[in-house]
């Protein structure tokens, strides 16, 4: 397969995943913003911070919902906005069209222009429906890939790109919100409560799943365990790393070559394995998150090198 094709499939999946994760984050922001004391905590700001888009907010004072909708949903200048991600995913897909099925292409092609020229007021009013629409588009695309796409190496690159982006979104969320889960120190913005904790789970659509695994109570140790090392929850870092490993392994078998990226993915895997049973929390959540972010970034670079992107 052409390296450019592999790179485009990799990035197409990343952009789509990014659009979907961002949509979920906005939902979290909405939920948090209606809780008491939210203005003081500036919840919307943390949403911008998780996505790395804080610099796009140039006004002083707390960040509002409209700011976030403008920056994260509509802004075509912001490469991380949902609008930009959909346009880019579609551009990636278009340049490798022959490697997509008709249905995958249609799913991409129907999405890309939705937010072109969309008014801010209109978008704010229809926000829940728009967020649902984004999630649905991502699901339709994934479904089309699941049942129709040839399992050639392109599929592996696509899955790896999606898994990396998803893992990083969870990591960034933990990076920004880790103070919510801190056991001892004073917390910025006053009392922690289970709203704060549940917000993190909500952002990853994991609240029901969490209760299935850990029962009805929230604890920082369990939440960090769930999001970092649980291997059954599809948005946990460990699950995503399992996915990357599986697909990288397939590539290694197909090509008959083990590259540096294979060592790195094993390293992340071992790191998370060592963190089981609450160990990751004991070791220091913030440091662990930082370490995983560093390793996944390195992994993405090494994949690009190993396969001549």
């Amino acid at each position: 397969m052409l390296s450019r094709t592999a790179a485009n499939l990799f990035w197409m999946a990343r952009h789509l995943e990014r659009a979907e994760s961002t949509a979920r984050l906005i939902t979290m922001g909405q939920r948090m913003a209606v809780l008491p004391g939210s203005a003081y905590r500036d919840e919307w700001r943390s949403v911008l911070r998780v996505t790395g888009c804080e610099p796009f907010h140039t006004r002083s004072g707390p960040v509002t919902e409209a700011d976030v909708v403008r920056i994260l949903l509509l802004d075509s200048e912001n490469p991380a906005s949902i609008h930009s991600c959909l346009v880019r995913a579609r551009a990636n897909g278009r340049s490798v069209r022959t490697k997509l099925t008709q249905e995958m292409w249609e799913a991409l092609n129907l999405s890309w222009r939705r937010f072109e020229g969309y008014g801010l007021d209109e978008a704010c009013q229809e926000l829940p429906a728009l967020i649902d629409w984004v999630k649905t588009r991502a699901s339709v695309f994934r479904g089309a890939a699941e049942t129709g796409m040839l399992r050639h190496e392109g599929h592996d690159f696509m899955r790896i790109g999606g898994a990396i982006e998803r893992a990083q979104m969870t990591l960034r969320l933990l990076d920004v919100k880790y103070y919510v889960l801190l056991p001892e120190t004073d917390v910025v913005g006053g009392g922690r409560d289970h709203y704060q904790w549940s917000s993190v789970l909500h952002a990853l659509s994991g609240i029901r799943a969490y209760h299935h695994v850990y029962g009805g109570t929230y604890s920082p140790a369990h939440i960090s365990d769930f999001l970092m090392v649980n291997r059954a929850f599809p948005r946990s870092v460990a699950y995503c790393v399992d996915q990357m490993r599986w697909h990288l392994e397939r590539l290694a078998q197909e090509h008959g070559v083990l590259a540096t990226c294979h060592k790195t993915v094993d390293e992340i895997f071992e790191f998370l394995l060592d963190g089981q049973d609450g160990a990751i929390f004991q070791r220091g959540l913030h440091e662990s998150v930082q370490q995983c972010l560093k390793l996944t970034n390195r992994l993405a670079n090494e994949i690009a090198e190993s396969y001549y992107f």
Partner: protein, 469 residues
């Protein structure tokens, strides 16, 4: 008088249109409009779009599709088929000659300057033998019809003619939507075109290639107006669709960058102009292109389809001499005639054209796509005067032809079936043998009375039927 392809002179339906007529009557105008919307939705969804240069607006405009097919009888096609092959053969013979001994110039049949001073002439190609002596592997010939037996060639396209994807997609859509129309087996299929194209491309692999040749399609990229066609053809042939950045040259061979390392390429079906193929050989300021590609080609490491310099044969000034080429190289009389053409580069031609510009169609010699042309009878006197000034400034850059009464074909109008002017582009494949599928692209001017069928100028397309008997 304009020839209507559907009607005899007395207004009765010509027999080859009987089936179409029956179907129109049966479905009704409202019914057809309903199906038209459906067809458009399908085209939009699968993304068959055509970008228009220099017009701004939607870069991925949908090319309008008209439901009513254009029909050729078996007899009409047999003649077209012979004429097209004859022309494709003569054009390739001319290219070989022009880059070798130039016998036709020595014979005084074509002025030397027209060849050697031509922008499309590539001195780098002199003395080189492309595999099979083929320069133009896909010859697209634009044909108009002006009467029951009058088929005339408007222009030749020897570089990388586009539009064949529409031929295939139009038929695909028609078959999908109206299976009943095709179930009687009246219409000759066209869907073997991609397989024939691949076979043709493999036939012209470098002689040194001893394996099953690796063929790729080279596209400028996804922003090119014909990108859809590039990906469509690559897909149907099962070959890689590469961009210049995917290729590099090493040791006189061309390699593509793959996830498992470099892989050698034998034949490149390139959809990039000569100028942008190789910055070392052609335009040094080109950011596109594969450095060293031309050298690898001349060294026999790879075949380029079409060959650099093939555009010489489809130049509008050279066009005038194609009938001479047919007589000179093949010893035959041309089956398809040329349209009388005045060359503004000659004194008498210039005088005639300036005097009659209001009645003529004037074109830039090197222009294409319907840009920069003047249709005298439909232009304002200011536009005619302005065009005359352009011609005076650079006479050699223009030709003029009479305004032809292009035949009309039935087209779906708002409340009735209307007659619109159309042309026809078949695609002749040239490898170690010639191949021609029975069909092509019919372009239709959707505005009443308009003679410009180019999709870049608001023309549409329709399915083209060649009846089996």
């Amino acid at each position: 008088m304009t020839f209507s392809e559907m009607h005899e002179q007395d207004g009765t339906i010509r027999s080859c249109y009987a089936e179409v007529k029956r179907w129109i009557d049966e479905t009704g105008i409202d019914g057809l409009h309903g199906r038209m919307d459906e067809a458009e939705a399908i085209f939009r969804r699968i993304g068959i779009t055509f970008a228009v240069y220099g017009e701004g607006g939607d870069p991925e405009r949908l090319i309008p599709f008209d439901l009513l097919p254009r029909v050729f009888s078996r007899l009409e096609w047999e003649r077209l088929d012979k004429g097209i092959r004859q022309r494709a053969q003569a054009l390739n013979a001319f290219l070989y000659d022009a880059y070798h001994r130039a016998e036709i110039l020595r014979a005084g049949l074509i002025p030397q300057d027209l060849v050697y001073q031509n922008e499309a002439f590539r001195p780098e190609m002199i003395g080189f033998d492309p595999p099979g002596r083929v320069y133009s592997h896909i010859v697209g010939i634009d044909i108009v019809r002006t009467g029951p037996d009058q088929f005339e060639v408007l222009e030749d396209n020897c570089r990388t003619p586009s539009g064949v994807s529409y031929m295939l997609e139009n038929r695909e859509i028609m078959t999908r939507m109206f299976p009943g129309l095709f179930s009687k087996g009246l219409v000759t299929p066209v869907d073997d075109y991609p397989a024939l194209l691949l076979r043709t491309l493999k036939e012209v692999a470098p002689p040194a290639c001893k394996r099953d040749p690796v063929v790729v399609l080279l596209t400028p990229g996804s922003l090119n107006s014909a990108y859809y066609e590039h990906s469509f053809l690559a897909d149907l042939m099962g070959i890689e669709l590469v961009e210049p950045v995917d290729l590099f040259v090493d040791n006189d061979r061309v390699w593509m960058k793959t996830t498992t390392g470099p892989r050698a390429v034998d034949v490149i079906y390139r959809r990039i102009d000569d100028d942008y193929l190789d910055p070392l050989a052609f335009r040094p300021d080109s950011l596109l292109g594969v450095p060293g590609l031309f050298h690898a080609y001349r060294a026999g490491g790879v075949t380029l389809c079409s060959a650099p310099g093939a555009g010489l044969a489809d130049d509008k000034a050279i066009y005038v001499y194609v009938p001479e080429m047919i007589r000179f190289y093949l010893g035959e009389e041309p089956i398809l005639s040329n349209i009388p053409t005045w060359q503004c580069g000659t004194e008498s031609g210039l005088a005639y054209v300036l005097e009659h510009l209001g009645e003529l169609v004037a074109k830039e010699v090197h222009g294409s796509g319907g840009y920069g042309m003047l249709i005298g009878p439909q232009a304002t006197s200011e536009a005619v005067a302005a065009y005359a000034a352009r011609i005076r400034a650079n006479p050699g850059g223009f030709i003029a032809q009479p305004t032809l009464a292009l035949s009309t074909v039935p087209t779906l109008g708002e409340s009735a079936v209307v007659q619109r002017h159309a042309d026809f582009r078949p695609f002749c494949l040239v490898g170690s043998q010639m191949r021609l599928v029975a069909g092509g692209l019919t372009r239709v001017a959707l505005t009443e009375g308009s003679l410009v069928v180019n999709s870049s100028q608001g023309g549409g397309v329709k399915d083209t039927w060649v009846l089996r008997n």
